[in-house]
């Protein structure tokens, strides 16, 4: 239920940002919206409690819904986010994402990873690609915007986690970013 709520929240947020982002008076940054999918997949991977599969399931569903929202071929973002989730799960026992600076840095990391993975998926599946300079520009701008919005989005996810906590201790740990 917790994963489903996070996925639904991410889906809603992605729809809102897709509709709003290009209208914001933020110049060049408006070209590339924050990678909500990457943040969600990374959060699910990083906070996977009972194994990797449920988190990846959430990431795949998020990716699939975002595929439908953004009009990319079904499965493209699902695969990319599944791989992003695996990478985030791999970092789970090595780093603790806590505090604004760390959240910003980790958001930037997952946005870059998702961008590179997306490019790799496109290459492997023979999908159309832009010029390398343009791809790089999108990755850089997307990483910047994801870093900007990373902390509030993760805070929202932690609140959802806290809402599903069974004990006060779990709740505090979720809000502090100490989960799992």
């Amino acid at each position: 239920m917790r994963t489903a709520t996070i996925v639904f929240a991410a889906y809603l947020l992605a729809i809102v940002l897709t509709a709003v982002w290009h209208r914001l008076p933020i110049g060049m940054i408006a070209q590339s919206a924050p990678d909500i999918g990457a943040l969600t997949a990374a959060y699910l991977g990083l906070t996977a409690r009972r194994g990797l599969a449920p988190a990846m399931g959430g990431a795949v569903v998020t990716g699939y819904l975002l595929d439908l929202v953004s009009g990319t071929p079904a499965g493209y973002l699902a695969l990319t986010l599944a791989l992003t989730c695996v990478i985030a799960y791999g970092t789970q026992r090595r780093i603790l994402v806590r505090g604004t600076a760390m959240t910003i840095a980790f958001s930037g990391f997952v946005a870059t990873v998702a961008g590179v993975l997306g490019w790799a998926v496109r290459v492997s599946q023979g999908m159309p690609r832009s010029a390398v300079s343009l791809e790089l520009q999108y990755v850089v701008v997307g990483t910047l915007t994801t870093m900007l919005l990373g902390p509030p989005i993760w805070r929202g996810f932690r609140r959802i986690d806290a809402a599903f906590a069974r004990t006060q201790r779990e709740r505090d740990a979720a809000l502090e970013g100490l989960a799992p």
Partner: protein, 299 residues
């Protein structure tokens, strides 16, 4: 977590990578969305439409009202820029007019065999009705002298009546003191055109124009008036104006009003004809006509 559960977890995770990859491959080869995609879209599309509608509503409100804060400053900047560009355009237009006038003057100078000198109009006193009464040019004692005719490509302007320092005043053909020998181009009727000296127009008049017995030869409104060359002020054949009104007709003579061809209020540069009118010869009575006419001594 037991080994079996861990193994199962990794197998499921592997499947969750393989399945999207297969879905992606299938969707790349398919031309339209699958049934599953269509079903999901049918459920999610209303939500997406509602959110987009709300965002557009807020975005529209933002764009129409809040974002207009900067528009005011931008508008001010654009107005200032527009003002500058208008000034520049006006200056360039004035320059273009000057250049046109100078080109016409240069062509006239080339065409005319008379020795002439270009001059710029530096002042033009006006009547209360905004009609130029006289013009001042930037040529003085060293260049011009009293009596020299002043013309433009459009026709005669007047003659120099005063020279002082580096400047000279030109009496216009429309001045009430000006007298110009003219000919009606169509009929050949001669007369003396005098300025009416009006402060609200440049009108001139010709009195005592002999009326031809042939009705076709009578002067009509619109007839062109040219200089006759007599009176030694202007060279012959210059268009000086057009008959604008027949003011009198007593059966023998006609009086007409003439509108000069040159709009003096727009004149920026002129040509001064340097051949002055011949001075009166004090020995004229003593000279034998044959000397002057043929240059030969009488027997």
């Amino acid at each position: 977590m037991t080994l079996r559960r861990r193994l199962l977890d990794w197998i499921l995770a592997g499947l969750l990578i393989v399945i999207p990859a297969l879905v992606l491959r299938a969707s790349l080869s398919a031309r339209s969305p699958s049934r599953v995609d269509q079903a999901v879209l049918r459920v999610t599309a209303p939500l997406q439409a509602a959110v987009t509608w709300g965002a557009n509503l807020v975005g529209g409100w933002w764009g129409k009202y809040v974002a207009l804060i900067n528009v005011e400053a931008e508008n001010r900047e654009l107005r200032a820029e527009n003002e500058k560009l208008r000034e520049k355009l006006a200056a360039l237009s004035r320059r273009a007019v000057d250049i046109d006038a100078l080109e016409a003057l240069a062509a006239l100078k080339q065409k005319s065999s008379a020795d002439s000198l270009g001059a710029r109009v530096i002042a033009a006193p006006m009547s209360p009705e905004f009609r130029v009464l006289r013009i001042r040019i930037d040529r003085g004692k060293s260049d011009v002298s009293v009596g020299m005719p002043v013309i433009t490509a459009g026709g005669p302007v007047g003659r120099i009546i005063k020279v002082f320092g580096n400047y000279a005043d030109v009496e216009l053909v429309s001045d009430n003191a000006a007298r110009t020998e003219v000919v009606i181009a169509r009929t050949g009727g001669r007369g003396i055109m005098t300025g009416l000296g009006k402060t609200d127009s440049y009108a001139c008049s010709i009195e005592w124009l002999e009326r031809a017995t042939n009705p076709e030869a009578a002067i009509k409104v619109g007839d062109e008036v040219v200089t006759s060359g007599l009176g030694a002020t202007f060279p012959p054949g210059l268009l000086i104006g057009t008959v604008s009104k027949i003011t009198g007709d007593d059966g023998m003579f006609q009086s007409v009003e003439v509108m000069p061809s040159v709009d003096v209020s727009r004149v920026r540069s002129v040509l001064v004809l340097l051949a002055p009118p011949p001075p009166p010869d004090p020995d004229a009575k003593n000279k034998k006509r044959s000397d002057a006419m043929f240059g030969a001594r009488a027997l």
